[in-house]
Symmetry: C2
Subunit: 237 residues, 2 copies
Amino acid sequence: MALKMFDLRGRDERLRFSPYCWRVKFALAHKGLACDFVPWKFTDKEALAFSGQGRVPVLVDGEETVVDSYEILRYLDRAYPERPLLGEGAAAERARFFKFYSERSLAPGIVRTILMDVFNTIHPDDRDYFRTSREKAFGRTLEEMHSPSQGLTMLDRALEPMRGRLDESEFLDGEAPGAADYLVVGMFMWARVCSGADLISNADPVYAWYQRMLDLYDGLGRNATRLVDVEGAYQNV
Amino acid sequence: MALKMFDLRGRDERLRFSPYCWRVKFALAHKGLACDFVPWKFTDKEALAFSGQGRVPVLVDGEETVVDSYEILRYLDRAYPERPLLGEGAAAERARFFKFYSERSLAPGIVRTILMDVFNTIHPDDRDYFRTSREKAFGRTLEEMHSPSQGLTMLDRALEPMRGRLDESEFLDGEAPGAADYLVVGMFMWARVCSGADLISNADPVYAWYQRMLDLYDGLGRNATRLVDVEGAYQNV
């Protein structure tokens, strides 16, 4: 039986923009596993009630239900041990740092750069929920939080360790991509789907890595529908 | 035959402040290897001529000479395979990121916080060399570069991924310290030896990790002589 994953969708059903869901999509492709992706909106809390919580990704594999992108990577390594993602021992311990680097170093700059684009990407049903929950978390309005000049400056600094690493190596995980790459690329896919903003200059070693990541698995990332591809997306609805 | 390492010294011979030498000292202790530390000054270029370059750490192990802190960690894993530091495969690939995180995320904030303390720590013979080379690299004077308020703000942001990781784990490498921890702690030892500045609030998860790191190997880090311990260090010489 094929795997099933609940996947955040936007105003157009093809817009799949969750950075956490993207981690899992790359991980599934890495393992060569087929999966049905079930479109889901922030406010479809009922649809996830069986999982005991209200956020995606949620992976369903027969009798097993797994929530949280990192836990799903762990589950995939246990259930499908070929082509390890996180690996074991020191490899697994060190992989964990990339989760926090992605969420706490890269995301803060990206969110300030693309926040109003994200707001424009989400389903109209989700707008009140999104605005209320995010404004509470940020302690300010979406419009105040959105500041591309500040965001890009923050991101530029946060990318420094990736620059050093990718100046010497094709992927964060070495000659072939692995969990470290997928944990990080999710944030770039989030920006890619929601926004036309250029986050990285094409002279940056991170840019070359990003292009390689987009090409993986028959262009899994490159072929994702972006808001800029959706007709009428920049008119008010 | 005992290992020998050339180790940067300051105005007092006990002041050993190189972040790169500290990485190796922790790595040697991790392996349980005895080593003679030879005090060296920036301007003692002749003493390192045999190594084909002019910087420390330089490790001499019988016929072998190894330069660069990361290469020394690799060498130690090859020559003394018990208790791996970097490990192999994905573990080794991921360890490399911590080098760049340490040097490119943490160091820029720390250097702005402690630079004039570093200048006060180095040997008087090294002052002209240090000022000239660093001012050229920074594109400004040491005094202009030194800005603790700016440095601590940069460091605070750069510590975010460590906070996430160390909130859940005793060490960056998990339940026991490893190369990731040593690659990072070198920067904190640099600050500790040269400066009385408090880089981390004691409510920070990074602070608890730092205390654990200082206690390792019979207090290797905690017992290091600091500039604040040296009589007369804050008088002009």
